[in-house]
Symmetry: C2
Subunit: 318 residues, 2 copies
């Protein structure tokens, strides 16, 4: 991040948003003149309303409401926020991105805020700015010091590449050791490789990635995805003291993916890891059954019930 | 490597050579006019004499012998080579460096070769060129395309820093998954961060390291050592497909070292990892007992006999 409070990144980035039927956050907000104070519950547990990020989001949305001169009737009422996500929190699965995107969307609905809301969501969690849109989304880093041009745009809707599938392998659902924010701060301060990545390598990859998505070139998409995931973790390792997010199981999944792709003769599946050991695999629909079957074979688990969820897949014999 | 056959590196490097009483290779060579062929045994097992690196070493040493016009009497005789190392082979503990340094030293003795022999050893295994000298050694990458200036020089003898100690933690003594040579070739071909490291970062670190060794500044020495080890593994991860040498135990040792240094208030111990999961810890003599005691506590082992070897240390109660 180039600015910690405004949450401005040092490079552009591209993400895909999961189908909300499968993994999502759900937020309900109620404003009431009789509420004596603001309150927030995350997954049923009351949390402090004074967190700097929540405050930053509210301040920014109220600024927008005042500009628009709409809903001045309810803007001073206290609110109660209930937010739930149906997947592990803080395990490197973008729970804060989903949570803040959902929160800002709900606040924007409540207060009738119009226009792009990604810049509002960014104040809560950088990557939340991408998650306010579905499909393929790009976050422009922006150049302004006030961050007003650091917003997300949808590159293509999910329907553009309908057979794209994401398989999430939860290696460890406990909270991650390093909070992303502190780790990023330390990377900027100490990694001597980071500037080469941010200034030179990422810009080239972003435009290659945009064209791979546009032309639905899966092998190209897969290679850029894997190389960039690896390089992100290389920077984490080049941070001092280093951050490790990948563990032995993550390494084994990466090796499986390369072995599978080599066997198939082209990149048919790609991995990417965020700030945790859990793998996101991208593949096309017709490979899903085979990949799930092989993974169940290589990484057997005792948890039989509720272990696999998502879009039903046909297994296959291997 | 900038040249694969001549084994020319892309940057300078510094290493320390272990006391041969503790970890070493031992090579005996006999030349005899009655030997009907050249033979070589490694750790008691006969190996092929036709390996390209062994051939390259012999070709180069014979060139030097012919230049000097000495020992033309025995240069055509066949030789028998017996080489043994008292530590695991190909486990990322520089067995080939030790082996080739020892081989070249023995051949140079046999054929009365004078002058610097590090360039000869380099033909066997790049890092072997450093291992022909004791103490603190620097390998100049050199600039000539024939590699004749890619040699090692001793920066300081071991006696310069007499309380320096190296603790080697053998995490896994099996042969490594990736041979160093292939992995290095792949890094040069695919890592987009490598040039920043080799062209910009390493040269600065080399001169800082030389001054840290010269002034016996342990905290500075330790920080450069750890940062550079981490960056080497970052480059391995940025290689495509990636190479992983560190495993969960390696990660835990790194975290222990940072926690210990934080507790002590300054860097009192440093880790470095070559192409494998095994840690080399550097520390000063007065810390060795405490560190070994803590490590035995954190990483208990069932192997009681012969598990710890080396210079005897006094344990301590923790």
């Amino acid at each position: 991040k180039r600015d910690d409070e405004l949450i401005l990144p040092i490079n552009d980035s591209i993400s895909s948003t999961l189908d909300t039927n499968q993994m999502s956050a759900k937020t309900t907000i109620m404003a009431n003149p009789n509420f004596i104070e603001n309150k927030i519950w995350l997954n049923g547990k009351e949390e402090s309303f004074n967190g700097p990020r929540l405050q930053s989001c509210l301040k920014e949305i109220k600024r927008r409401v005042q500009e628009s001169k709409k809903r001045s009737d309810i803007i001073e009422w206290n609110i109660h926020i209930c937010s739930e996500n149906n997947f592990p929190t803080a395990a490197g699965l973008a729970s804060s991105a989903a949570g803040y995107a959902c929160l800002i969307f709900a606040l924007a609905k409540l207060y009738d805020v119009e226009g792009d809301i990604s810049g509002l969501a960014r104040r809560g969690s950088g990557s939340a700015c991408r998650s306010v849109y579905g499909g393929w989304v790009k976050w422009w880093k922006g150049n302004r010091s006030d961050g007003l041009d650091s917003i997300a745009v949808q590159l293509a809707p999910a329907s553009h590449w309908p057979d794209m599938r994401i398989i999430i392998l939860v290696v460890n659902e406990s909270r991650k050791k390093h909070g992303s924010t502190d780790a990023m701060k330390r990377s900027i301060a100490t990694s001597t490789l980071l500037s080469a990545r941010a200034d030179t390598i990422v810009p080239g990859r972003i435009s290659e990635m945009e064209s791979a998505i546009k032309s639905k070139d899966f092998p190209k998409f897969a290679e850029i995805t894997m190389r960039d995931s690896n390089q992100f973790h290389a920077i984490c390792l080049d941070t001092y003291p280093p951050c490790f997010y990948l563990n032995n199981v993550s390494h084994a999944i990466i090796e499986f993916v390369h072995a599978y792709n080599e066997f198939r003769g082209s990149a048919q599946v790609a991995y990417t890891y965020d700030a945790g050991p859990n793998a996101c695999l991208y593949t096309l629909e017709n490979n899903v059954g085979e990949i799930i079957s092989i993974i169940n074979e290589i990484f057997p688990t005792n948890i039989s019930e509720g272990y696999i969820k998502g879009i039903p897949v046909e297994g296959c014999t291997i």
